[in-house]
Symmetry: D3
Subunit: 127 residues, 6 copies
Amino acid sequence: MIEYTDASPEVRAVYDDIMATRQTDWVNNFWKTLARDPALLRRTWENVKEVMAAGALDALTKEMIYLAVSVSNQCGYCIASHTASARKAGMSDAMFAELMAVVGLANAANRLAAGYQVEIDERLRPR
Amino acid sequence: MIEYTDASPEVRAVYDDIMATRQTDWVNNFWKTLARDPALLRRTWENVKEVMAAGALDALTKEMIYLAVSVSNQCGYCIASHTASARKAGMSDAMFAELMAVVGLANAANRLAAGYQVEIDERLRPR
Amino acid sequence: MIEYTDASPEVRAVYDDIMATRQTDWVNNFWKTLARDPALLRRTWENVKEVMAAGALDALTKEMIYLAVSVSNQCGYCIASHTASARKAGMSDAMFAELMAVVGLANAANRLAAGYQVEIDERLRPR
Amino acid sequence: MIEYTDASPEVRAVYDDIMATRQTDWVNNFWKTLARDPALLRRTWENVKEVMAAGALDALTKEMIYLAVSVSNQCGYCIASHTASARKAGMSDAMFAELMAVVGLANAANRLAAGYQVEIDERLRPR
Amino acid sequence: MIEYTDASPEVRAVYDDIMATRQTDWVNNFWKTLARDPALLRRTWENVKEVMAAGALDALTKEMIYLAVSVSNQCGYCIASHTASARKAGMSDAMFAELMAVVGLANAANRLAAGYQVEIDERLRPR
Amino acid sequence: MIEYTDASPEVRAVYDDIMATRQTDWVNNFWKTLARDPALLRRTWENVKEVMAAGALDALTKEMIYLAVSVSNQCGYCIASHTASARKAGMSDAMFAELMAVVGLANAANRLAAGYQVEIDERLRPR
């Protein structure tokens, strides 16, 4: 992992932008690990900044969708870091509990649909 | 698949509740297939009705989380049916596009975190 | 796909063994597709024959475990073919329904454990 | 995690039922973590109790199917806890080894079927 | 799907670049579907062009890695389209067969490692 | 785990072959754990030796495909051990970074294809 004090100016610029955008004073290990490849670091951060910014969906909804995917994929690091960012964006205990209930339900029902070999309804086919 | 006209009273009661709850006049194949096992049909529907109802999260957010999980799992049937229900709950083209961008990003970043073997930050560990 | 009449002696020998072992008079598309690579065909069939034969677990239990994994992975072909072989090995409608309920439950609970970041209990750690 | 001594009467009632049903004197972390949401705790436990009880399939077969799904999903916590419960239900070393062989085979063959784009046989299509 | 003749200048520019880069005279459905969101189309194509271009790894190796991931994820569309692009980049029947054997093996061994709860060796831990 | 000094002659023979084939003086935990089932140990090792040997694809390409699948499946042990073996087979930092970029891209694009319900092009269908 590349710490701020050891980072090149290019990497520091990304770290600075992360801290400014998130209004925080630290950078988490994900970025400090990606920094081994400065081009990947910059590209990934720009992508995250663009995709996760409020737009048609607000930032909290996006954080919760991101968390739901990470839980479904069982990515330990991503669950830890995006639970924290979703909470920071306003996710309450009750919202987290409902998110988890939906993720559990969808993962179960996805397998019921597959295992029972449910055919797609004529009127649900894409236009 | 069990059509309404061929269904037992127990199965019809679930179909009626699905149509009433969703304010629609048809039942999709998922339920008509599960109806081969009336107890499973009833239990699954009650679970869906409870989990997907507005609470700390509104119904549209829940539908989008459900869709995000189904896309991540690549469940064809579930994507078709929950794209339809999310749209019915108010998901616009722009919201769908942003949802898909978040799902794509999370699936990519989940693998970056895993492949780079990023360690969980001390302050991100669960209390 | 390589049909029996077009198959080389090496491929025919595998087809014959499949039909004899399964006491059936046809070979399904999986094998006819793998036959494009006769060495893969033979190796895969030998592996299947060895692993799926009754041992400490009976053949029906093995077929149901195989089906449960295929449903969990949402592999359309595998679900279709292994539902058929599990039924042939004795899986009733009631057994299938219970298998599906377990698969749905495990897929949901796997995500609850991951999303709630449950720590492994000291006494559940491998010795 | 909520320990027994700190638990509300509602949560204690679930813990008591878990210990009575399983004929054991402790409750594992999964339940102590879910207890942060008493309604989720109760609902999940009732679901587990109903789905995992012996029926058309005996309890050991159900535990092994559950374990096979958890291994396929690579859920660390679930593998640890359900290896323990399957062993308690009677799974021997030889049964575990055969279960793992089937899980490995199914995961490999699922990808062969997908990668070789095997078409579903006419006679394997759902009725 | 947006056909070339119906496309806006912005979308046409991407289609033209796809055809020029790939030295082909058609655009596949993936791009014609993404074109519903021109910004996503452009961003995804630029990403693909950058990531898939020969660098430290040649283009064929990258296509095969992409295909291996798509097979592992069982994404039907991606398998069809990236089998075609890998073949165009030089993948022979023998190379495809060996790629599939590695994908099958890795998927099986990933589950053996998880199910047997293999601990990471001290000297395999990231520095 | 079975250490060399505690191993039966059958298990030692496999350990010796692993060390000779890999030109190394140690055996990693994966094999020492599988050794609890000597037949599984031998079968798995023979399979690995056959599938991973240079053929139409060189050994480094195979190691990178194996690693790409393991990252996609998020198998912690497999990522640690196959990053090491890929490096030993010649994977540079730059090659690893490009491999990871392809794995990230494929995982994202697989979901775009699924979520946008892209239809397979007529000319991409298997012959």
